[in-house]
C-alpha cells in the first residue's frame, strides 16, 4: 500500500520535472517580462509531492510497515519513536529521498524569492536544477528505491545500527544535507548565469542568501558529526582526519572561500569567474564526497552496505555534471582583469581564498592519493593525522594573522591609521601567551605561534565587538562572531592538544588506581535492562588529589539486541574547565576491565567556539539589513 503511494508520488515528481523543464524552455522564447504562473504552479506541485513522498516513508517507519524492504532492513518495532523517524534518513535509500527533497525545495524557494532578478537567469536556473533533480530521481527509481516492497511481509525488522541511535547523529544527516545539497542551487545558478550572461553584482545578490544558508548548515552539520564521534565512538578525540570527515571538509573549504569572494563580487563587481568556479566546485565536491562515501571506495562507519552499482551511477552523473560545467564555463566565460591595491580589504579576502584553496588541495591530496595509489599500483598506504597536522597547522599561523587584520582595511584603498592599535594587540597577545607558557607548562615554537596568533585574532575581534556595541562601527556583527569563534576554536584546540592527560590500565571491582592527580576507585557493577539494549554499568569514584573533590563516573557497555552489537558509552563529566572522560571495556575470561581515563581541558569550549563560528552565519541570515 505505502509502497504504491510512495512510488506513484515519486513518478509524479519525475513527470513534473520534465514538464517544468519543457514549460520553462518555452517561456524562455516569449518576450514576456514575467515568468508564467503555470511554472510557479508546477514547481509548487513538485515540492508538495516530493515532501509527501518523504512523509510516506516516515509513516512507513513510524508504523513499522515491514512490507517496505527499507523499513524491514533499518527499523524494528521496539525502537524508540524518535529513532524510528531518524531511521528514515539513516540509510542510503531514505537519505537519497531526503536529498531529492532538498533539491526540490531549494529549487522552488529560489524561484519564488528571487522575483526581482532577470527572468532568463531564473528560468535557466530552474532548468538546470530540474536536470539535477531528474538525475537523482532516476537513480532513486532504478537503483535505490526506498519504496520497494517485500513479500511475504516479515514480522520483525532488522533494526538500526546502534551507533547511529544517538540524538546528535539523528540530526547530523539532515543538517549536512541541507548544507551539501543546498549547494546545488548555486551550481545551477552559476550555469544559468554563464548562459544568460546575468553576472556581476546582481548575480552575487541572487545567490548570497543561499550560500549563507548552506554554509551555516554545513558548518553545523560537521560540528554535530564531530560531537557525535567524541561522545559515541569512545576514542576521546573529536577530529580524526578520517577520509569521510575529509570528504565533508572539502566542500566546506570551497564554500567558505565562496562566501568571502562573493562579498568582493557584490561590492566591487569583480572576481566573477572565480566566484563561478567556486559555485560549481562546491557542489561538485559535495557529490564527489557522496560518491567516495557511498560507493565503498572508502571504508568507514558511513559505508551503508556498499554497492558498486550505486557507485557507477553516481560516477556517471558526476562526470556528466563536471564536463557540462567545464564546457559551459570554457565557452561562455570572458577574461577578466582586475587590480587590487595591496592595502585593501579585497586583497585580504583574496588571501583568504588562497589559504582555503591550499587547505582544500592538501585535504584533497591526502584523501585521494591513497585511493589513486591503491587503484593504479595496488600499494596500500594510509594518510593520517601526521600528514595533515604537518602541512596544515603551520599555515594556520599566517592565516589567522591575515584574518585578524584583514577586516581593518576598507574597500579599494586604506591608510595605515590602525598601525599602533595592531602593534599593541600583538604585544598583548605575546604577553598573554607568556603567561600561559609560564604557568601551565612548556610547548613547542609552533604552538607558541599558534597561541599568539589565536589570541591576536581573539583580541582583534573583541575590540571590534566593543566598537560595534558602542556604535562606533555598525557593520560586520556576523563576521566578528565567526572570526572570534574561529580564534577561540584554534586557541582551545591548542590548549586541549597541549595539556590533555591519558591513562590506560586494567582494574577489577574494588580496586583503586592512583595517577598523578587522580585516584580512581572502581566501586561496583550494575546491569540495567533498557528498551532496546542491556547495559553493564560501572561505578567509579574519582578523587582529585589536589582539591579532594570527589566525582562519580558511570561508563557503560551496551549490548544491543537488534542487530546484536556491543557499544562502549564513555562516561564524560563536562565542566567549564575540563572534561573527565572514562571508558571501560570488558576483558573476557577475567574479572578485569580495561579502563581508559582522560582529562581533557576546555573540551566544551571547543564545541562552543565551533558553534559560535556557525552562529555568525545564522546571525547574518536573520539580520534584515544587508550589512558588511
Amino acid at each position: 500500500m505505502l509502497s504504491n503511494i510512495g512510488i506513484s508520488l515519486v513518478v509524479l515528481v519525475l513527470i513534473l520535472s520534465f514538464l517544468t523543464i519543457y514549460t520553462a524552455y518555452l517561456d524562455l522564447k516569449t518576450s514576456n517580462q514575467f515568468i508564467k504562473v503555470s511554472i510557479y504552479k508546477l514547481s509548487l506541485f513538485q515540492t508538495t509531492f516530493t515532501v509527501l513522498s518523504f512523509f510516506t516513508l516516515i509513516i512507513g517507519f513510524i508504523n513499522s510497515d515491514f512490507s517496505l524492504i527499507n523499513v524491514y532492513e533499518n527499523s524494528h518495532t521496539t525502537k524508540p519513536f524518535f529513532y524510528k523517524i531518524a531511521g528514515t534518513w539513516g540509510n542510503h535509500e531514505g537519505s537519497l529521498l531526503l536529498w531529492i527533497n532538498i533539491l526540490v525545495i531549494f529549487s522552488y524557494l529560489f524561484l519564488v524569492f528571487n522575483y526581482k532578478h532577470n527572468k532568463r537567469f531564473r528560468l535557466y536556473t530552474l532548468i538546470f536544477q530540474n536536470i539535477l533533480i531528474l538525475g537523482f530521481l532516476f537513480f532513486l527509481l532504478l537503483n535505490s528505491n526506498p519504496f520497494n516492497s517485500i513479500y511475504p511481509i516479515p514480522l520483525e525488522g532488522l533494526g538500526l545500527n546502534p551507533i547511529l541511535q544517538d540524538p546528535a547523529l539523528a540530526i547530523h544527516p539532515p543538517l549536512l544535507y541541507v548544507g551539501f545539497v543546498g549547494c546545488s542551487i548555486y551550481f545551477s545558478a552559476a550555469m544559468a548565469s554563464l548562459i544568460s550572461g546575468y553576472g556581476g553584482k546582481l548575480f552575487a545578490q541572487s545567490i548570497k542568501t543561499w550560500v549563507k544558508i548552506s554554509w551555516c548548515f554545513q558548518t553545523l552539520g560537521i560540528i554535530v558529526g564531530s560531537i557525535w564521534a567524541y561522545y559515541e565512538l569512545g576514542w576521546g578525540g573529536f577530529w580524526f582526519w578520517d577520509p569521510v570527515e575529509n570528504a565533508s571538509l572539502l566542500p566546506w573549504f570551497a564554500i567558505t572561500a565562496l562566501m568571502h569572494s562573493l562579498i568582493v563580487l557584490e561590492k566591487r563587481s569583480t572576481l566573477y569567474s572565480w566566484v563561478i568556479i567556486l559555485c560549481l566546485l562546491t557542489f561538485i565536491l559535495s557529490v564527489t564526497g557522496t560518491f567516495l562515501v557511498r560507493s565503498g571506495i572508502l571504508n568507514s562507519v558511513h559505508t551503508f552496505a556498499s554497492d558498486p552499482s550505486r557507485g557507477i551511477y553516481i560516477l556517471i552523473f558526476l562526470s556528466f555534471m563536471i564536463f557540462s560545467a567545464l564546457i559551459i564555463f570554457f565557452t561562455k566565460h570572458k577574461k577578466e582583469t582586475f587590480s587590487f591595491n595591496l592595502k585593501s580589504r579585497e586583497t585580504f579576502i583574496l588571501a583568504n581564498n588562497w589559504f582555503m584553496a591550499f587547505f582544500l588541495v592538501t585535504v584533497l591530496i591526502g584523501t585521494l592519493y591513497p585511493i589513486f595509489l591503491d587503484v593504479l599500483t595496488g600499494v596500500k598506504i594510509s594518510v593520517g593525522p601526521p600528514f595533515f597536522n604537518i602541512v596544515i597547522i603551520p599555515l594556520v599561523v599566517p592565516f589567522m594573522l591575515l584574518m585578524s587584520i584583514g577586516p581593518k582595511f576598507s574597500w579599494i584603498k586604506s591608510q595605515n591609521k590602525f598601525f599602533y592599535e595592531t602593534l599593541f594587540l600583538m604585544l598583548s597577545a605575546i604577553v598573554i601567551n607568556l603567561f600561559i607558557f609560564y604557568f601551565f607548562g612548556e610547548y613547542s615554537l609552533l604552538s607558541n605561534l599558534i597561541f599568539i596568533t589565536a589570541i591576536f585574532l581573539i583580541l582583534h575581534s573583541v575590540l571590534d565587538a566593543k566598537k560595534f556595541i558602542n556604535n562606533i562601527n555598525k557593520t560586520g556583527l556576523s563576521r566578528i562572531i565567526s572570526h572570534l569563534g574561529f580564534g577561540f576554536l584554534v586557541f582551545f584546540i591548542g590548549i586541549n592538544h597541549q595539556f590533555s592527560l591519558e591513562e590506560d590500565f586494567n582494574l577489577k571491582v574494588g580496586e583503586i588506581k592512583k595517577t598523578d592527580n587522580y585516584e580512581i576507585n572502581f566501586k561496583n557493577i550494575k546491569i540495567k535492562q533498557s528498551k532496546n539494549y542491556k547495559a553493564v554499568i560501572g561505578n567509579f569514584e574519582l578523587t582529585n588529589l589536589k582539591n579532594n573533590l570527589v566525582q562519580y563516573l558511570d561508563p557503560e557497555i551496551r549490548i544491543y539486541s537488534n542487530p546484536e552489537t556491543l557499544t562502549y558509552e564513555a562516561a564524560i563529566k563536562t565542566k567549564m574547565t575540563s572534561d573527565l572522560y572514562l571508558t571501560m571495556s570488558n576483558v573476557s575470561r577475567s574479572e578485569y576491565y580495561n579502563i581508559k581515563f582522560q582529562n581533557k581541558p576546555f573540551m566544551v569550549w571547543i564545541w562552543i567556539s565551533a558553534i559560535m563560528v556557525a552562529l555568525g552565519g545564522f546571525v547574518q541570515l536573520t539580520l534584515k539589513k544587508n550589512e558588511d
Binding site: 571506495i297 558498486p308 560516477l315 570554457f330 587503484v375 590506560d504 571495556s585
Partner: protein, 172 residues
C-alpha cells in the same frame, strides 16, 4: 580553432581522476575476503615484540605446514573473545603468528600475560603498515596460509566456534 593547452590539461586531469574512480569501484572488492584466497601473501618483515634482535618474514612461514597469521591489539575488545580459540589452536598442528596492530608494546605484553600467549612469534606493527599490506582493514582478522605462502582462508572479525572448526578441518 585555437588550441588552449590549459583547458586540455584540465580536461585530461579530470578525465584521469574519473577513470581512477571507475577503476577503484571495480577494485573495491579488494576488501572482499574471497578475493584474497588463493593468492600469495606479500613480502614483509617484522621485529619481535619481545626481542628486538629477532625478525620474521614470509620466508619463515615456508617451513611451517600451516601458519595462522592473527592481527590483534590490546585495545581491541573482540580480540579478547577469540583469544580462547587461539589458545586451543596453539596445541594443534598449526603455528600461530600474532601481528600486534597499532598498539603500545607494554600494553600488548600485558595483554598476553593476562590472557595467555598462543603465538610462537609476535610481530610489532605499531603504525599498522604491514597489516594494511596484508589487506587488513579492521581487527581482529586472521589469515591461514600453507607452506607455499598461499592464503587458504581469511577470517574477518573474531574467530568463533564455526570458524574454529573450519580451521581444524582445513589443516587436517
Amino acid at each position: 580553432m585555437k588550441i588552449d593547452i590549459t583547458k586540455i590539461i584540465i580536461f585530461c586531469f579530470i578525465a584521469f581522476s574519473l577513470f581512477v574512480f571507475w577503476k577503484g569501484l571495480k577494485n573495491s572488492s579488494n576488501y572482499d575476503t574471497t578475493q584474497l584466497i588463493g593468492s600469495k601473501i606479500s613480502n614483509f618483515q617484522l621485529i619481535n615484540i619481545n626481542n628486538y634482535d629477532q625478525y620474521i618474514s614470509q620466508e619463515d612461514f615456508k617451513k611451517n605446514k600451516f601458519t595462522l597469521i592473527n592481527f590483534f591489539a590490546s585495545w581491541c575488545v573482540p580480540c579478547r573473545s577469540e583469544h580462547e580459540y587461539l589458545l586451543n589452536l596453539s596445541n594443534k598442528e598449526i603455528k600461530i603468528v600474532g601481528i600486534n596492530f597499532k598498539d603500545k608494546k607494554s600494553n600488548a605484553i600485558n595483554f598476553l600475560e593476562e590472557l595467555g600467549d598462543p603465538y610462537y612469534f609476535v610481530g610489532e606493527d605499531s603504525n599498522g603498515k604491514v597489516s594494511i599490506s596484508f589487506g587488513i582493514y579492521g581487527i581482529p582478522e586472521s589469515i591461514l596460509i600453507n607452506s607455499d605462502l598461499t592464503v587458504i582462508k581469511k577470517i574477518v572479525g573474531p574467530i568463533d566456534q564455526i570458524q574454529y572448526d573450519e580451521i581444524l578441518k582445513l589443516i587436517q
